[in-house]
């Protein structure tokens, strides 16, 4: 089986979740990544959904944070204040998955407006970036998405650079950005490339990044999805190609 680039993204996203982690996800690839992790190496990982769903047993394939498929078999159906305040702000959620229209050199995220164009806004993203210990971002790697500085900082990464997060009163954070070209990481620093996707080059990464991105001396290559991971993803988690329309032509 040959994986599509976004399938590799989802699988590499799943690998960011350790067994026993409490994770907050929206829908889309992060949800697939989290449910894949639960069904492979991290059966003890538990999900929190911002609408108030605590520890659900996800039925494939939800499309919304209030989808009944995402509310199944939960510990509790509560409120947004409980999920984002009582769990995320309270410090009980280790890892959050986020997206955004722009991610800058210091891993700040913009989901509010780009060049006068109105976007949906923060939702729970600012809360997750403010309080989780680790943020994982799954995104296509396009130059316009990776500017030197976001037009608007919706969700804080490392703000103006080293020390700025602490000075603002925010707790420490690790960020991992996983794209169809590479993995970039930062911890109170600028994003730096630490691994390449199978077949990608650092030159391609630099061509598609709007800031001068650093790279580790030795770059690992991301392991491609195993047959088991791909089978789970395709046949169990998204059998109707809701999140992978590119697979439809193959079927």
């Amino acid at each position: 089986m040959i994986p599509f680039p976004r399938e590799i993204l989802a699988v590499e996203g799943a690998r960011q979740i350790a067994d026993g982690d409490v994770v907050i996800v929206g829908t889309g690839l992060p949800l697939l990544a989290a449910t894949l992790a639960q069904r492979t190496h991290a059966p003890g990982a538990r999900l929190v959904i911002e609408s108030g769903v605590v520890f659900p047993k996800v039925v494939p394939t939800p499309v919304s944070v209030v989808d009944p498929r995402l509310m199944h078999g939960a510990s509790r159906h509560g409120s947004l204040y409980e999920a984002l305040g009582g769990m995320v702000q309270r410090g009980l959620v280790h890892t959050g998955f986020l997206g955004g229209a722009q991610i800058d050199r210091y891993a700040n995220i913009n989901s509010t407006r780009v060049a006068g164009k109105r976007l949906p806004g923060s939702g729970g993203a600012n809360d997750i970036a403010s309080h989780c210990r680790k943020v994982v971002i799954l995104t296509d790697h396009e130059r316009r998405r990776f500017p030197e500085r976001c037009d608007h900082v919706t969700s804080p990464g490392f703000l103006d650079g080293p020390g700025a997060r602490k000075a603002a009163g925010l707790p420490p954070l690790e960020v991992k950005v996983i794209t169809d070209l590479c993995v970039m990481e930062a911890a109170d620093s600028a994003l730096a490339v630490t691994a390449l996707m199978p077949g990608a080059t650092l030159a391609a990464v630099r061509a598609e990044t709007g800031f001068a991105v650093e790279a580790a001396d030795v770059l690992a290559e991301v392991a491609p999805p195993t047959t088991d991971e791909l089978t789970l993803l395709r046949e169990v988690l998204d059998p109707d190609c809701v999140y992978f329309p590119e697979r439809k032509s193959e079927k």
């Binding site: 947004l80 702000q89 923060s122 403010s130």
Partner: protein
């Protein structure tokens, strides 16, 4: 028993909106994304053309977009405006980009914190969200948030100003005539928003007899103490879902989004035909789904997951 004759809050949507939604009101909007949006109440507001509204909520979705399309909204205070994978709110986006709707961006927790303050009768509550962000800068400039130092030495916190809507609109599973409300599934921001509001209209799938909920009051999600009017409206959240009752109607939501994105004459005539012309929400439902075949399908679809 003494309540039976005097205290019924049951009204029609037409009566409730006329009594409680006034021009220039701050409207607390229930629902989130594709779940339990108060569509019947919002259609009635649009039909009555109550304007100059400020709409507030955490995630604002389809109900806001319909009110914006009807030209009734001047400002929103929200955590997000979208329908997740079905896209942004196109009428809202157009109005915001044209400068016709003023926007106060929050995070979801920041909005929930404002409602919690309003619900508890205090002028503000703290959060540690927003620190360092441009969202905070915007709210500070608008006078809605302020950074202070924790008096016990824990570093900076953000005080969020209490928010008390003039009227909240929510759709729930059931209520009794005294306005005691039961919601099944998640409640998003709704409970604190309703408790913060001066008045609230709740539309419900079902009205249960007085006394039934009093036998198990711990199951009541919102006390009738906070509810002004109860409107019986089965499928009152369609095309969004009601947990354990009916699924969201994906095809209809996609159709709406395709029309709203274009924002042309076809969209205007859809709004006229589906929102403005039908005299009641039942008449709208019959027009959208003659004979109820689709409603039966959505009921069956929800049954599979609950």
């Amino acid at each position: 028993m003494h309540q039976l004759l005097t205290d019924s809050k049951v009204l029609t949507a037409e009566e409730a909106v006329r009594a409680f939604v006034t021009p220039g009101a701050v409207v607390g909007m229930g629902g989130q994304n594709i779940n339990r949006c108060p569509m019947a109440l919002v259609h009635e507001v649009a039909r009555q053309g109550v304007g100059d509204l400020t709409v507030v909520g955490c995630n604002l979705s389809l109900p806001l977009d319909v009110l914006v399309a009807a030209g009734l909204v001047v400002r929103t205070e929200q955590g997000s405006g979208n329908l997740e994978r079905y896209g942004t709110l196109f009428s809202w986006r157009r109005a915001v980009e044209a400068g016709a709707v003023d926007v106060r961006d929050h995070s979801h927790l920041a909005m929930a914190t404002r409602f919690a303050a309003g619900a508890n009768g205090v002028p503000f509550l703290p959060t540690r969200s927003l620190l360092g962000s441009d969202v905070l800068a915007g709210l500070a400039e608008a006078g809605l948030a302020r950074i202070v130092d924790d008096p016990w030495g824990g570093g900076p916190v953000v005080l969020m100003k209490a928010l008390a809507p003039d009227v909240s609109l929510i759709h729930a599973h059931r209520a009794d005539p005294s306005g005691n409300v039961v919601v099944e599934g998640v409640t998003s921001h709704e409970v604190d928003m309703v408790r913060a509001s001066a008045t609230t209209i709740v539309s419900v799938e079902e009205i249960v007899p007085d006394g039934e909920l009093n036998a198990r009051p711990e199951e009541v999600t919102i006390s009738g103490a906070y509810v002004s009017a109860v409107v019986r409206q089965p499928f009152g959240a369609y095309p969004t879902s009601v947990y354990r009752r009916y699924d969201f109607a994906e095809a209809e939501i996609k159709e709406y989004q395709a029309l709203a994105r274009r924002g042309d004459d076809a969209y205007a005539s859809w709004l006229a035909r589906h929102v403005l012309e039908p005299e009641t929400f039942d008449a709208f439902l019959e027009r959208a789904d003659p004979g109820g075949v689709r409603r039966a399908e959505l009921t069956e679809s929800m049954r599979r997951y609950t």
